[in-house]
Symmetry: C2
Subunit: 337 residues, 2 copies
């Protein structure tokens, strides 16, 4: 399943920019895949793309309407059905990452059947996965892991794909969450697969490849998060990374959504190596991505310098300072492209 | 969801005893919940229960028809629909653990709707779980873990429930696989829940309880199994066990279904303690269940004695020698009932 480009981004009546963060993520990383945005009256989000109606979007080549907006509960409000049906009637596929499936809306399902268009519910994979086999596959893989959820694992992976490609590496971002799937046009929401198939889905996502090819895999959760560690471990085993980057938010004191303390970067490195060795005995850490969003420039530089000193590894904030230091380490450990 | 007792066990046309091992497991542990068995022509399995037709089973109080037979692919053969529909028409609920849902068979679904009976597809939980919270709950919990899949985790948990109850403990077996669900009348197939909810499902399964109450939780997979370790870790975090028992099959050299070597008992103890501490800092190992099915009596005694010596913990084969040694250790560590 590959979502066809270019996209028309549907923002609905998003009450603020945060509600449209999926759309914004697509624009940040794949602006050239987007013909425009479609907003309903009252929409307070704006990705900066041109506002297009469906006919104009089609005329400009738009192939897929992406529902790039979330609301409480992941439901599809009834008044979104009409514009979605209109896009289908105009010849577009539709992709969404809501809990509620597009395919479960009778009007949308009927329109897709009538016009022969595809509906992508990226949170509900229809792919039949095998269970993981744990056999070493050719090609190289890098996984972003974290001290917690929502610390920048997707951003770091995308920044590494971009920087590695610029240096001449063959590198592909591999998406494991819904926004990532839209950004790469394919992928799997690993947190939504049936538990028995987590590592199998990760193996499907990162198949055998050329020896010098890098899959740069978006991590999920944390081995230390009591809600999601199972997903993290299955992804680690299935992705069998040669290299990993630890993502960390230094101002956080509790793990997201629970009362647990944050693990240290060192604890995450050690447990990732210990568990990752099961499917890749040579796994190693190549850097630390520190999310310094809440720090001043000076504090950010200080925290990063301390991290470099404490861990003996490159550290950087991918947003503020780029990821060149980590790519240097990849070159040192695994060779130039 | 609680499956109503007593059961009529449907064996279909099982070609051998192995195909009816779910039914056999129910009879082994809950014979008094079963009124009889229903076999089709050609069935070569026999649980030893009386053969009853549906009318007789109903007259003897049978409340639920349990599909206690598996076939390749977990499908429901078309010729099973008629006896299942007949049971529904006679007033029985139906429960199955097939990949194919009872509810997806139009005849069966229509009969259930018409007669107001319930269909339990225990591999496809309809329960809406929350994500795991990792908060310590009152009550005590024991989890069986393993060096591999299919080494006796369910059997060990059931034997411990029985032996602990006989000693005066308040202990309940908590099922995490389909046969276990039929044996306990409730539970969840944790390998079939959506990945994000593994630990949440385990928390739902083992809720807050009296301080002296023991949940004896059926483990799944192995932290060292590259296919299923994610399920194992989520279950460990959600069950937050105070005590665990390592189940091991000493003649196995490769992990089930993959090429990986078996971990040592010590490796399993250490990683279980290391990861389990996240949700229960006092987690400890209380014994080793050695599956000596393939060994002579003499070899079995030798292997068990060696295990006791090497690990400094009680070891036994629950089938051959019972689990009293492990219950003694529970009493020593956690007090008499």
């Amino acid at each position: 399943m590959e979502i066809e480009k270019p996209y028309l981004l549907f923002l609905g009546d998003a009450p603020d920019a945060l509600a449209a963060k999926t759309a914004q993520g697509i624009v940040d990383w794949r602006r050239d895949w987007c013909v425009g945005q479609l907003r309903l009256p009252g929409c307070l989000a704006d990705t900066g793309l041109p506002d297009l109606d469906i006919a104009t979007a089609r005329a400009r080549g738009g192939k897929t309407l992406i529902v790039g907006v979330a609301n409480a509960g992941g439901v599809l409000p009834p008044h979104w059905a009409a514009p979605i049906v209109a896009a289908i009637a105009a010849g577009m596929d539709v992709a969404a990452g809501l809990h509620m499936k597009l395919a479960d809306n009778p009007e949308i399902a009927a329109a897709a059947a009538k016009h022969g268009r595809r509906l992508f519910d990226v949170r509900h994979s229809t792919e039949r996965f095998a269970t993981g086999k744990g056999v070493k596959r050719p090609g190289k893989r890098l996984l972003t892991v974290g001290t917690d959820c929502s610390v920048g694992k997707k951003y770091t992976a995308l920044a590494l794909e971009r920087a590695m490609t610029a240096r001449g590496y063959h590198a592909d971002f591999r998406a494991t969450g819904q926004t990532g799937v839209f950004i790469s046009g394919r992928g799997v929401s690993v947190d939504a697969v049936v538990a028995d198939f987590i590592s199998g889905a990760a193996e499907w996502l990162t198949p055998a490849n050329d020896p010098d090819h890098w899959d740069v895999v978006e991590g999920q959760g944390s081995l230390f998060h009591p809600s999601f560690a199972g997903v993290t471990l299955g992804l680690l085993h299935g992705a069998q990374p040669d290299a990993f980057v630890v993502c960390h938010e230094p101002t956080r004191t509790r793990m997201r959504g629970v009362e647990h303390r944050l693990p240290t970067i060192r604890e995450v490195i050690d447990l990732t190596v210990q568990c990752g060795r099961l499917t890749n005995p040579d796994i190693r850490c190549v850097g630390i991505a520190v999310n310094t969003e809440r720090l001043s420039d000076e504090e950010a530089r200080r925290v990063i310098a301390e991290t470099v000193r404490a861990e003996g590894l490159p550290a950087t904030d991918p947003v503020r300072f780029g990821v060149e230091a980590i790519v240097d380490k990849i070159a040192e450990e695994f060779g130039l492209p």
